[in-house]
Amino acid sequence: MAVESRYGSGSFGLSDRANRIRIYQTLVVVGLLGTIELLPRLGLVEPTTLIPLTEMLSEIVSLTVSGELTPHIIQTFSAIFAAFALGIATGIPTGVLLWRYDSLKDILDPYLLTYYAIPVFAFYPLLIAIFGLNILPIITIAWLFSVVIIITNTASGLKEIPDIYPEVGRNLNLSSAQMFRHIYLPAATPYVFTGLKLGFIYALIGTVASEFILAENGLGWLISFSYDSFDVQTMYASMLFVILVSLVVNVALIVIERRLYQRART
C-alpha cells in the first residue's frame, strides 16, 4: 500500500487532491482531443489520414440522422447482448461447478489460462458452415471471447468468500437455498461482477473485431468497409462511435463495480 492509501480518508483533505487530479485528467483529455482537432486543421496531417474531431462528431450526427448507422448498431448490439447473455447463462453455472469441484478446476486451469491466446476469429468460416451466414457465427465468437473470463471470475469469486460467512449462516441454521441466496451470492457478487464487466467488454471486443475482419455488416464492418473504400469520414465517425460507446459502457460498469466493492471491502 502506498502511503496515501494507508491513511487515505476524508480527514486528510483528499478532496483537494482529488480536485487537482481531476484538473490534470481534464488537461490530458483536452490535450489529446485538441491534438486530434488541430493536426488536420493546421494541415499538419493529410485530410485523408485524419479528420478533425468536430468533423467526426458532425459526421456521427449526420449518419445517425440519415439512419445509415441504425442497422449496424442494431446488428452489433444484438450480437453483443446475445453473446453476453449466453456468456452469463453458461459461464456462471460453469464457474459454480469449478468452485464446487476442485479437481475439475485443477484439470481445466492450465487450459483456461492459455485460452485467450487462441485466435478464435479463425473459426469463423467453420461457424458459417455450421450456422449459415447470419448473426450466429458472430455471437458464437463473441461468446467464446467472453465466457471464459466469466467462468474464472465466478469460480475464484466464490472461492474468495471467507469461511466465516457460511459459518454464521450455519449457526443460524439456514437452509441450503437461504445459504446460497443470502450468503454465497451476495458475498461473491463483487468478484462475479468483475467477471461480468470483463465479459461484457470482451463480448464487445469479440463482436466488433469479428465484424471488422470477417462480417458483412455491423459497426466493425462499417469501419473496415469505409476504410477499404476510402471513405475516411465514415471510417472515423464509426470508429469514434464505437470508442464512445465502449467508454460509456466501461465507465458505467466501473461505477457499479466500485459501489459493490465498497460494500464488500473488509
Binding site: L133, Y227, D228, S229
Partner: protein, 329 residues
C-alpha cells in the same frame, strides 16, 4: 514526391529507362486466375529482362487491394475495376493504366453431382448463393439475371454466403440450390472426384466484363513513365507465353500458387480460355459497360453519378490501335 521516394527507399527505387526494384500486388495473390501471367513472367525472367526486380504481395479482393496499393506504398497493382473506380471517386490518387482480365469465365454456379439442379432452368423459384456483397460473384449474378431468358430472374432468391467455402458447404447440406464457385478452387474440388455438376458458367450469360485493371501511383506515371511501360510489357509477355504453352504455364502457376496441383491449374486455364480472359493491356468497351451497369445494380454508384472515364483511365501506355473511345461506353 519526396514522400514517394521515401516510401520506396525501404523497398527499392526507380532507375532510368524503366528499371526499378520494388513490390507490387495482384488481387488474390498468389492463387486465383488473375495471377497466372505474373507467375509465368516471373518464372521466365521477363521482369528481370526489363530490369525489374519485383516481389508480389498478397491481398484480398475488392477495395482492400486498392487500399494496399495506396497504404502499402506500392507503385503497381492489379485490382478489381469497380474497386478502382470507387477509390478514385472517393478521392484516392490512382490512375488506371491498363485492363487486365475481361471476362468472368472462371466463375460458375454448382450443385452437388446427381442433384436435381442441372441447369439454370432448374433454379426457377430456388436460391442461389453468392460470396459476399460487392464481390465479382454478386455483380456477375446481377448481370446474369438481367441477361437470362430461360427463367424469371425475379423468382430466384440471391443469398450472401460469406465465401466460396461457406457456399459450397451450404449447397452440400441442401440449404441453397446453387453456390458460386470459381477456378482454380472449382477444378481443385473436382480433381479427385466429381463433386459438383455445373449449373451454369457465368461466361455463358455475361460475355465481357472488365474484372480487373492495373492501377499505378500517379507520381510514378508522372515521374517514371518508362517503368509503367516495362511493367506492362513484362506482364504482356507472360500472357503470351501462357497462351502459347498453357501446359507449361499450368506447371509454373501451380508452383507459384499455394496448394493447387498442375492438373488443377491446367483445367482452370483451359476453363477460362486465356485468349479471351486476359488482355495485354487494352480495355474493352462492352466489359466496361458491364462494369458500370453492375456498379449501378449493386449501389456502388448512385443513379445520378457518372464515371469520369477520361480522368481515371490513361491509355497513353497502350498501343494507339488498342485505344478505345470512352464516349462509346
Amino acid at each position: 514526391l519526396d514522400d514517394l521516394e521515401q516510401r520506396l527507399t525501404g523497398d527499392g527505387g526507380f532507375g532510368d529507362d524503366g528499371t526499378f526494384t520494388g513490390d507490387a500486388t495482384v488481387t488474390h495473390w498468389p492463387d486465383l486466375m488473375y495471377n497466372a501471367p505474373y507467375h509465368v513472367a516471373l518464372e521466365n525472367g521477363y521482369f528481370e529482362e526489363e530490369g525489374i526486380e519485383i516481389d508480389f504481395v498478397g491481398s484480398e479482393g475488392g477495395g482492400t487491394t486498392v487500399r494496399n496499393v495506396v497504404d502499402g506504398g506500392l507503385p503497381f497493382g492489379e485490382v478489381a475495376t469497380p474497386a478502382a473506380i470507387n477509390a478514385y471517386l472517393a478521392g484516392t490518387p490512382i490512375v488506371v493504366v491498363a485492363g487486365a482480365t475481361r471476362t468472368v469465365d472462371e466463375i460458375n454456379w454448382v450443385a452437388p453431382t446427381g442433384s436435381e439442379i442441372e441447369s439454370i432452368e432448374d433454379l426457377e423459384g430456388g436460391t442461389m448463393g453468392f460470396t459476399s456483397a460487392g464481390s465479382v460473384t454478386e455483380t456477375t449474378a446481377a448481370l446474369v439475371s438481367s441477361n437470362v431468358d430461360e427463367i424469371d430472374p425475379e423468382s430466384v432468391e440471391f443469398q450472401e454466403m460469406g465465401g466460396v467455402g461457406e457456399g459450397v458447404t451450404a449447397v452440400e447440406d441442401g440449404a441453397i440450390d446453387a453456390a458460386a464457385n470459381m477456378d482454380p478452387i472449382y477444378s481443385d474440388q473436382q480433381e479427385e472426384e466429381e463433386t459438383w455438376q455445373v449449373v451454369f458458367w457465368a461466361g455463358d450469360y455475361v460475355d465481357r466484363f472488365q474484372q480487373t485493371s492495373i492501377i499505378v501511383d500517379p507520381d510514378v506515371v508522372e515521374e517514371y513513365p518508362d517503368a509503367v511501360e516495362t511493367y506492362l510489357d513484362a506482364r504482356a509477355q507472360g500472357i503470351e507465353s501462357l497462351r502459347e504453352d498453357p501446359e507449361a504455364a499450368a506447371e509454373v502457376f501451380s508452383d507459384g500458387a499455394e496448394g493447387f496441383s498442375t492438373e488443377v491449374m491446367r483445367d482452370a486455364i483451359e476453363n477460362v480460355d486465356p485468349d479471351e480472359y486476359y488482355t495485354t493491356g487494352e480495355f474493352d468497351v462492352e466489359g466496361l459497360q458491364n462494369v458500370e451497369e453492375a456498379m449501378y445494380a449493386t449501389d456502388l454508384l448512385d443513379e445520378d453519378e457518372d464515371i469520369p472515364w477520361d480522368e481515371i483511365f490513361d491509355q497513353s501506355f497502350l498501343d494507339e490501335d488498342d485505344h478505345i473511345d470512352f464516349e462509346e461506353i
